[in-house]
Amino acid sequence: MTTIEFRNVSRWYGNVVAVNDITMDIGPGVTGLLGPNGAGKSTILHMIAGFLAPSKGTLTLDGTATWKNPEVYRRLGLVPERDSVYAFLTGAQFVTATAKLHKLAEPERSAAWAIGLTEMAEAQDRKISTYSKGMRQRIKVAAALVHDPEILLLDEPFNGMDPRQRLHMMDLLSRLGDEGRTILFSSHILEEVERLSGTIQVMVAGRLAASGDFRAIRRLMTSRPHVFHVRTSDDRRLAAALVGRDYTHAVELTSKGLQVRTSDYGAFCEQIAAITRDENIRLTELLPTDESLESVFGYLIAN
C-alpha cells in the first residue's frame, strides 16, 4: 500500500508556472489525472517518477523523495507518453532487458508474465519497429510492470489504442488497482477517466481544479451553465419566452442572434423546439458554444 504525497508542490520553467501549489494524496487504486493538454499532467507524472524536481514543496512516496533516488524504481513503473522505445529489439527482448536491469531473479519468466498480462505474447518475437502504436503502448506497459511494482504511472496510456485494446487495458489497470497497487494515469478524455477510475484529480492550467470522487465532480460539471447560440426568425420573442423558464440563467440579444445560458442542458434541448413551435418562430440555428473540455475545466476552476 503506497501513498504518493504532494505538499505545496510547484514546478516552473523560467517564469512559466507548469504546476502551481498542489497538495494532494494519491493512494491505492486507480486514479485518473484529468485535464486539457498543457494543464500540467505530464509534469506531475514526471515529478512523481523522479524525472523532474519540484521547484517548491515536497513530493514523496511513503515519505521517501523520488528526485535523485533511482532506488524508487524498484517500487515504481513508468509508461511515458513518448513513443520512443528500442525499436530494434523484439518485444520479448525489450521486456527481458528491462527485467535484467531490475536484477530480477528470473528475468525471462518475469518478462513472459508481463507480456502475458498485456496480451502481447503473439507479437513478442517481432521487432518493436513493426508494432502499431497501440502495440507499442502495451509493450511499454509490459516493461513497466515486469518487476511487479506497487506504483504504476501511465502518461496518456490509451493513445493510439483501438477500442478492443483500450477495453483490455482498462480492465488490466482496474485489476491492478483492485489488487492494492497505486495506479495513476493521465488523460484529457473525460470518458476514459469515467470508465476506469472512481477517484480523479482534475488539473487546469497547472492548478488542481477538483479532486475526489468522479461522480461528484461529474455532477458539478453537468450542473454548470451551458451556453447556446440560437438564431431564429424572431430572436426578441424567443428571448421573452425563454426568460420565464426555470432553467434559463440569462438571455442576451446580439447582432448575430441570441446567447442563452441555461443550467439544465437536457431540459433546454428538449423544450427549445416546442417553444419555438408554440411561439410560431422559425428556428434556424442552435449551437452549444462551450462544450470543449477546456470550458468544463474552466468552470470547475472558477467554482
Binding site: N37, L52, P70, K103
Partner: protein
C-alpha cells in the same frame, strides 16, 4: 560498474543507426590513402608519420570519436528512449561507465585499429604503427569521456565537438603552443612519440604530461557526466 545489458543495447543501437556507416568512412580513407602512397612510393618523403600522424590524429580519430561518443547516450536522450533505461534502479555511474566503455571500444575499433592497419601497410613503419595504435587508444579513451559528457550536457554535442576539433585542435593548437595542453589529439601524439620518437609526428607534449592530463580529463568528464545524469529531467507539458 559495467552493465552488460546496457552495453548490449548500446552496441546494437549505435551500430544499427544509419550514421554507423560514417564510422568507417575516415578509416577507409586513411587505409586507401596509405595504399596509394605505398604504390606511388615518393622518394625522400617521410610520409608515414605525416599522414598517419596528421590525418590519423586530426581527422580519423576525433571525428570517429565524436560520432560515436555523442551517439552512445546522446541519441537515446534525443529520442527519449533513455527513459526506459533510467526508470530502473541501475546506478547512473554504471550507465555512464558502460556507455563510455562502449564508446571507447567502438572508437578503438573504427579509429585505432585502422591506424594500426595503415601503419603496418606503410613501408618501414612497424614500430611507428604500434606507437600510433597506442596513441590512438589513449585518444579514444579521453575523447570518449569528453564527448559522452557533452552529449549529457547539451543537445548540440556534435556542434560543440566539431568546434573543438576544428577550431581548438585543428587551428589554434598549431598556432598557439599553450593550447596543446588542452588538445586530446596531442595527448595521443605525445604517447605515440614517446614509444617511437619521430619529429614528423609534431608531438607537442611529453608522455607524462599527456597521460596526467588525459587521466584528469577522463576522470573529470565521467564524474561530471554522472552528476549530470543524476539530475536528468524530462521536459514537462508544453506550456
Amino acid at each position: 560498474m559495467f552493465n552488460p545489458v546496457v552495453a548490449g543495447i548500446t552496441v546494437r543501437a549505435t551500430l544499427g543507426r544509419r550514421r554507423a556507416l560514417l564510422f568507417a568512412v575516415p578509416a577507409v580513407v586513411l587505409i586507401a590513402l596509405t595504399l596509394v602512397l605505398r604504390a606511388a612510393n615518393p622518394v625522400g618523403v617521410q610520409w608515414p608519420a605525416n599522414v598517419l600522424g596528421t590525418f590519423g590524429f586530426s581527422v580519423l580519430l576525433p571525428l570517429t570519436a565524436l560520432i560515436i561518443g555523442t551517439g552512445v547516450l546522446g541519441a537515446e536522450i534525443d529520442d527519449g528512449s533513455v527513459v526506459h533505461l533510467l526508470a530502473t534502479p541501475v546506478r547512473r555511474l554504471d550507465v555512464i561507465i558502460t556507455k563510455f566503455a562502449v564508446a571507447v571500444g567502438l572508437t578503438a575499433l573504427f579509429a585505432a585499429v585502422p591506424e594500426l592497419i595503415a601503419g603496418l601497410l606503410a613501408p618501414n613503419s612497424g614500430k611507428l604503427a604500434w606507437a600510433l595504435f597506442a596513441g590512438a587508444l589513449v585518444g579514444s579513451v579521453v575523447y570518449s569521456a569528453v564527448f559522452v559528457l557533452a552529449s549529457v550536457v547539451t543537445t548540440r554535442a556534435i556542434a560543440f565537438g566539431l568546434l573543438y576539433v576544428a577550431i581548438w585542435e585543428g587551428a589554434l593548437s598549431n598556432v598557439v603552443g599553450g593550447v596543446r595542453i588542452l588538445s586530446i589529439a596531442h595527448y595521443g601524439l605525445g604517447v605515440a612519440n614517446a614509444i617511437d620518437p619521430e619529429k614528423n609526428l609534431q608531438a607537442g607534449l611529453g608522455l607524462s604530461t599527456s597521460l596526467i592530463l588525459g587521466t584528469v580529463i577522463t576522470v573529470g568528464g565521467l564524474y561530471l557526466a554522472t552528476r549530470r545524469l543524476q539530475t536528468f529531467s524530462i521536459a514537462g507539458d508544453p506550456v
